[in-house]
Amino acid sequence: MSKKFFYLMGLLLFSLCIPLITKDPYHLHILITTMFHIILALGLNFVMNTAQIPLCQAAFMGIGAYTSTLLVMRLHFSFWLSLPMAGILATILGIIVGLPTLRIKGIYFAMATFAFGEIIRLLFVGWTGLFGGANGITAIPPPNPIPLPFLGQIEFENKVSYYYFTLIVLTLCLVVIYRITYSRVGRACTAIRESDLLAQCTGIDIMGYKVFAFALNSFFAGIVGAMYAHYFHFIGPQDFTFWQSVEYLVFIVMGGSGTLGGPIIGSIFLTFLPEFLRMAVEFQVVLYGLALILVLLFMPQGIMGLIVKVGNRFSKPGGEKTNATPGS
């Protein structure tokens, strides 16, 4: 076990204690939405590691959100059943969309997913009977309480329970993505990204892995969508637009793509930033845009890139991957 493991354990412990430190619902709200963003960014980053950039993240979120909402409100399912079903439905749709589109490269794939995202959004707007149209669906109930033997039950009306719930999901997601990334599956994805020709000829089934990554991401997006719906108690088509999809891309790029820490840091930084900028009132959004520009001009590798550079200055050479040239 390395230093990293202890840092992470410390971070986890700290995260577990936060609701004990502050019960301010506003703070918890920010943390919960940040965690939603992290999960979505991690999933998207996983797909991007197979050299594809989808622009329909929000659509899968929406599919999960509406699925869970409709199952709970129309068919009286328990949230704890509708949650995995939301994920599964999003995954199935992800596979259906992924199979024909993932063979397309680059910007054309991005545009195809963009079109798909818009089709889904328009479906939410247009099919008023099922999805409530432009007004969406309101009064979505929180997750059903979980009874604990001898201890009463866990309610989800309050933010503390939701915080822990989200933290558990985030941790699971992190563990899954970490473990897959550092395995032969993750290496296969790296290979696809670096040279898909070589990857193919060493036995890597490119389409298989691309569809897998896309499906996995759809699953997480669907799950987050469901959690989103039952947290905000209201969803509408305007929550699942192209601009939301782009947002997650921005988190990844700003944090540093190609690493696991990048999407996490990017999500945290860019979810917290607007809160700090609130003080600037009018100029809040302008400053946000300016932040995007300045960070990329001065830190082209994202925030993670800066951290790695600084880290390299302080660590000992040898034993780790190095950018040095042999003989230097």
Binding site: S183, R184, E194, L198, C201
Partner: protein
């Protein structure tokens, strides 16, 4: 025993006949040389065998099994590996990582063992890493493991390509210009390496322009020009074949 048999192989690109009605066989344990002037279609043949291109006509039999038209990753699974002429490596990965990635086919870990980090997962990872280190020693790159592939000198990159190809434990290895860009000393080292690979039971087909390497290593040679077979035989025969000499525009001194 015939490991590979190519018959009637043809490939067109639009109106251009890249490969036409090509036949040849490779016996187990042989080193076959595939030579010809630039643009003769040699790399196209490799691409056809490995499934990167679909043949327009003809058959490719590997261990008597028809593999024509199979996708590249399936061809690799059958036991055929290759290197590429251009520096096709995982540039931003370290040399060791490159070889470990190559072990993809040999490793048996499925999603269950990956997600649950079972002891099987760890033992497979350990095996892969040890095997990769052994391979790097075999090809003479010990000590270079942590350098990024893109920073390695050309000669070492050529060896790394071969290590990646070897990590899937292939029966047939296709080498596309393994000594290109090398000085005589490096060429000798590479020739020795190729000999070692063959000694380990791997059959080799080699595309090369360097005639010293070809003559020194190959058991048989197939000469291609304009996508068609020009000649076939042992090195001695090829050296003395007037058509072959003419195809190379009278560069007789190459054959000395």
């Amino acid at each position: 025993m015939q490991l590979l048999e190519v018959s009637g192989l043809s490939k067109n690109f639009g109106g251009l006949r890249a490969v036409h009605d090509l036949d040849f066989q490779v016996q187990v344990g042989d080193i076959l040389g595939l030579v010809g002037p630039n643009g003769a279609g040699k790399t196209t043949v490799f691409n056809l065998i490995t499934g990167v291109y679909l043949p327009n006509a003809g058959k490719i039999l590997f261990r008597s099994e028809d593999i024509s038209g199979l996708k590249p990753h399936r061809v690799a699974r059958k036991g055929i590996a290759r290197t590429f002429q251009l520096t096709t490596l995982y540039s931003n990965c370290s040399a060791l990582e490159n070889v470990v990635i190559g072990h993809h086919l040999k490793m048996q870990t499925g999603l269950r063992s990956i997600l649950l980090r079972t002891p099987f997962f760890w033992s497979e990872e350990k095996k892969a890493k040890e095997n990769a280190l052994q391979l790097m020693e075999f090809i003479g790159l010990s000590g270079q493991e942590n350098f990024l592939a893109k920073n390695l000198p050309h000669g070492h990159q050529q060896r790394l390509k071969i290590a990646i190809a070897l990590s899937s434990a292939p029966q047939l290895l296709l080498l596309d210009e393994p000594v290109s860009g090398m000085n005589p000393e490096e060429t000798n080292e590479m020739m020795a390496l190729i000999g070692k690979i063959r000694a380990n039971g791997i059959t080799i087909i080699m595309i090369e322009h360097d005639m010293r390497a070809v003559m020194g290593l190959c058991d048989r040679i197939v000469v291609i020009n304009y996508g068609e077979k020009l000649a076939e035989g042992v090195p001695q025969q090829i050296q003395e074949n007037p058509e072959v000499i003419e195809a190379y525009l009278g560069r007789k001194d190459d054959f000395a």
